[in-house]
Amino acid sequence: MSPTKTSTLAADAITLAHRRFIVAENLSVALPPGRVTAIVGPNGCGKSTLLNGLARIHTPAQGSVLLDGKDIHTLPSREVARKLALLPQDNTAPEGLTVGDLVRFGRQPHQGWMKQWSREDQRAYDEAMTAADMEQLADRALDTLSGGQRQRAWIAMAVAQQTPLLLLDEPTSALDLGHQIEVFELIRELSAQGKTIAMVVHDLPSACRYSDHMVAMKAGEIIREGAPAEIVSPELVEQLYGVHCELTHDPATGSPLLINVRRASAR
């Protein structure tokens, strides 16, 4: 994989609102370069909103999102697209679109009026297909793939964009265990190649296992931030999800593991 330049992405005191309803106020967060950051929290805590804010899908009512120190909304859209790729939750595609054609869309920010499909585009495309292990499926229509394969195809498109930053909104939400692992391991590989990654993850144990940095949100606020092994505690879990649990460590990987999870009111 070709070396990617690094870029930094941070939110500086942003307030995010849906119409007049404020979802999150005064959030500041910086993604540690070259690491995988997981944003966790209960339903409706604003984690997807934060990710969409970072990805400039959602314009903050106040504050600014800084890409390499500059306000992301003042930068040309294509320039941003060469530094930041996004895997959104709603990823519907035109009927009959093939994997190869989808992944080629990832090269769009690098092309221009005069600049047609170049050798560099082809190389980036090949690398992305290899990284996501999609070569065999290049000519298949997306709607004929399994959920895990489809998700890998979308990640391949984001990889073909060759951006130093990659944001993923619940990349494994509708997948079974095998497909989840498939996607998470791909994310780890991309991180090992130097990408800075942030992802919204629903499942706390997966977030512990596959992230280096964790941002825990509740009711629109960031309540803890740090390495999973340091911040995940029975207290935090109760605060986030209103459940009691005990904490141990995965004997194989050492990542925090929740056991004996039960409703808080049951005790």
Partner: protein
């Protein structure tokens, strides 16, 4: 995404050939039956005066008007479908055709305004779009509100046209009638010229934003993530759709179904993932010329307006398209 795309190229070439055949037929068939060779000779200026008059004056003008209006309506339809991400959202369905007609009829029957039909039709198209857009609220061209608002506006504009026609002298109403159902009979040379210029500009502009238009087939977050400036692309696309529809309606009236049928056909033939603007234009031009040819020859000397022919042929085809099960099979 621009990889050499064989399927689209082949489709465009094939559609172009079919279009040439339709043009030839349109020039050859009529009260005076000609062979393709005679047509070619006439076009080269080497025919007898009678043939020369029929081909180069009568039929060529009409065929050109058919080509231009068909191409413009089809491209406008393809564009509007893409912007609304809904195959039903053509300018005809959301009332733009009707509004353009109402305004143009107003100028023809003369209610104190003497603006050229082109200008009036454009104004009507723009007013209808702005109204539909405004009534749809924050959701923009997305979702059913835009379509439902447009259908309402189209109905109002349609009845306005009827009211206008019912209040003028019978001769004026008769003169305007073929045009309100969609016909190439009531065209003015000036409107055709304006349409030709508008179509040229519109086509070039659309090719300029075709890459951005392609990304609009995905959800908004995906389009933004790929670097598309959503708002400016939408506004420009909507503006071009209004321009093409307005100018075409000022020539032929509301031949709405072309905008629905041609892009459907183009989409079936072309490679998925790209907005098939060129193929739509070629298919639309062919549909229009063929339908007009049928209209003026089937019951000759009686002439059936082209709008009625497209409705008769188009409606079953449309039903078939909408009701057929998805045909994409695993490859």
């Amino acid at each position: 995404m621009t990889l050499p795309d064989k399927r689209t190229t082949i489709t465009n070439i094939a559609l172009f050939v079919v279009m040439l055949a339709a043009i030839t037929a349109s020039l050859a068939i009529g009260t005076l039956q000609l062979t393709p060779t005679e047509v070619a000779l006439a076009l080269a200026g080497q025919a007898d005066p009678m043939t020369d008059l029929v081909v180069n004056q009568l039929r060529l003008d009409r065929t050109l008007a058919g080509l231009l209006t068909g191409a413009a309506l089809a491209m406008a339809g393809c564009l509007m479908q893409t912007l609304a991400r809904n195959r039903l959202a053509t300018p005809g369905i959301i009332g733009i055709d009707n509004a353009a007609t109402a305004f143009a009829v107003a100028s023809v029957v003369g209610i104190g305004v003497s603006l050229a039909p082109s200008t009036m039709a454009l104004t009507g198209a723009a007013v209808a779009t702005a109204l539909a857009f405004g009534l749809a609220g924050a959701k923009g061209t997305r979702g059913y509100r835009f379509i439902v608002a447009g259908i309402g506006i189209g109905a109002i504009a349609g009845s306005a046209t009827q009211v206008l026609l019912s209040r003028v002298a019978i001769d004026t109403a008769n003169a305007a009638y073929p045009w309100t159902v969609g016909s190439l009979n009531a065209r003015s040379d000036q409107s055709v010229l304006v349409l030709a210029v508008g179509l040229g500009i519109g086509y070039l502009a659309l090719m300029g934003i075709s890459r951005a238009l392609n990304t609009l087939q995905f959800s908004d977050p995906v389009a933004i993530a790929l670097g598309t400036r959503l708002r400016s692309t939408r506004v420009l696309g909507l503006g071009l759709s209004v321009l093409l529809t307005g100018l075409a309606v000022s020539v032929c009236g509301p031949v709405g179904l072309i905008a629905l049928l041609a892009p459907e056909l183009a989409r079936t033939l072309c490679r998925p993932g790209k907005v098939p603007l060129t193929a739509s234009a070629l298919a639309g031009a062919t549909f229009m010329v063929t339908a007009d040819l049928l209209g003026r020859t089937l019951f000759s000397p009686l002439e059936v307006p082209v709008g009625i022919i497209t409705a008769i042929i188009g409606s079953p085809y449309l039903l078939w398209i909408l009701l057929r099960p998805s045909q994409r099979s695993p490859t």
